[in-house]
Amino acid sequence: MLSIRNIVKQYANHRALDNVSIEIEKGSVFGLLGPNGAGKTSLIRIINQITAPDQGEIFLNGEKLNPSHISKIGYLPEERGLYKKMEIGEQMLYLAQLKGLSKTDATARIRYWFEKMGIQSWWNKKVEDLSKGMQQKVQFIATVVHDPELIILDEPFSGFDPVNAQLITNEILELNQKGATIIFSTHRMESVEQLCDSIALIHKSKKILDGKVKDIKNLYRNNTYRIAYSGILNPVETPLFNINEEKKDEEVTQLTIQINPGYSSNDVLKFLIPQVQVTELTEIVPSMNDIFIQNVKN
């Protein structure tokens, strides 16, 4: 769907993007992750044709990015707002027409979304009379009103209350099921981990990691497990695993262990069951955040 190839963006004395290449599949929910200042927004602005790259190319559906693609992309910027003195309906019409919709189409689509969100009565209200949460709903509608194939959300949940965040998440997933491709960009990696099929990690202007979330996590599994049991384990020393952490309360002992190569979790269970009452054995899968930190340290 979107193919980003060898993008370089150079500002006067710093390189915002350094040879970044990313492939995004049609219909996927893609996470563009990285700390603040990593270059995410620079990349998104290039995809939106707000700025142009110094080197590299971007292809949308196999076509080189050009102005006709503007109407196929919906963009919710991190720095987002609305005209304060303008009425909501009129403002939506304006933004939708700028995206290339005709006035009649725009009116129909806006009505559809206003109904869906239950905000039909806001049409003649001015933005300055709306609460922040209400404005966020309007901004979201402005992003998707022209039925884009690609929806790009930059830090979508910053400033959202949990109710709105959930509401918007559901809408986004629904749009995804109808075929839209979604790009989430955020520095809060845990927040979109469960939403995304694939991710790319950007750090200091470079892509340091990308792929399917499942694959990346598999790659970074290191045989760490958490076990809990009651009873006394004796002897604690075993060639099966090393104990990283031990926590004891009155009856239950909790261990974080790393199983040594050549052994499996079943071997550990065989070792434990004769001696103690096992209540838990879970693999600790590294979070995106852990993976990121691990990558940055290297």
Partner: protein, 434 residues
Amino acid sequence: MNKILLIIKREYFSRVKKKSFLIMTFLVPMLIIGMYALIFALSMKGGDNIPAVEVIDDSGIFNKGLENKKSATFSKSELTLSEAKQKVIKNEDAFVLYIPADIASGGTIEMFSQKKAGLSVISTIENQLNDQMRTKLLADAGIDALTLDKIKPKLSVVSKELTLEGEKDSSSGAAMAVGFAAAILIYMSLFIYGIQVMRGIIEEKTSRIVEVVISSVKPFQLMMGKIIGIGLVGLTQFLLWITLSIGLMTVASQIIFKGKMEQIKSEMPINKQAAAPSNDGPGMDIIKAVQTVNWTYILPVFIIFFLGGYMLYSALFAAVGSAVDSDTETQQFMLPITLPLLFTYIMSFSFIVNNPDSSLSFWLSIIPFTSPIAMMVRLPFGVPNWELALSIVLLIGGFIFTTWVASRIYRVGILMYGKKVSFAELGKWFMYKE
């Protein structure tokens, strides 16, 4: 192209629909007409409350007495000075003029009254006394006053402009007044509408709508849409002002002069009606003067220079607006914009007025940054067509240049939040590649 139209439409209608626009549009012509009516009423008035001055002449020189004039009437008084002073203290409408006996040897003439006598009253008295004193002194010296008047030469120069189209009076006061008014109007409107462009951009930046919009249109389209939209607002306002003023003026003059004309007609013998206009009074003079102005020439030139100057300066205002986060930060960047305007304005009314054909005036009316104001001031004195054409071409070139510079700063500036910017920084933005 379609999108820039959408932007122009939004910028235009969001301003024209505002209450403040309607108020400004209707209030200004009302004020102008009101002022005009007030001046007219005051000049027509004058009839009542003419001070009646009692003259005590102890010198005996002015025994002819003083003639009654529009501003005051005079009568001889037999009262003594102290009696007259008592009268003034008691009566607030009394005016007493005292001419001491030693006037010929340097005595002072005094005017007593509770209310201060007006300047015109004093000058009427001074003129008459001086005339009589002069006649007396001439007679004393053995010179006949009438003979002296005859030898006083009365030459004057009438300036005529001679062109292929024939000769015409060049010192046309009304044309000059219109030219100056046009220059002042352009000066003020460059600021008013330029600052509206700047504010509009700051508003888009602070409300954070700008990134949403420029994901749909090019920054250049957004900037040009705003500049053109607000320019059209200015043009609409001017056209409404002109139409309303002419309309109100026609109505007002009909009401004021209807009675006057009938009065004149009835007073005039029928065969002399043709000569009547010369006696129409001050109001008619203004109307006539306004009619002598070549509107079909001045109005288009005014609109061209207003639009050209506006495009040139508003692009610079746009660049400033894009570089800052609030009105208060605009100060340092405003100076280079304000300075040429202020300079031209001062030069126009101190130098160009007196030397409209000097080479400095020529250059000021040719250079795009100063020409919108300077050309308007020079226009009534006659500007060759080739100079006008050159000035317009350069003005168009000028705004294309400033727009190009501004758009390069603008496209970077609008996406910079919370950054204190210097001139060096603006230079850097200008140099950025696309």
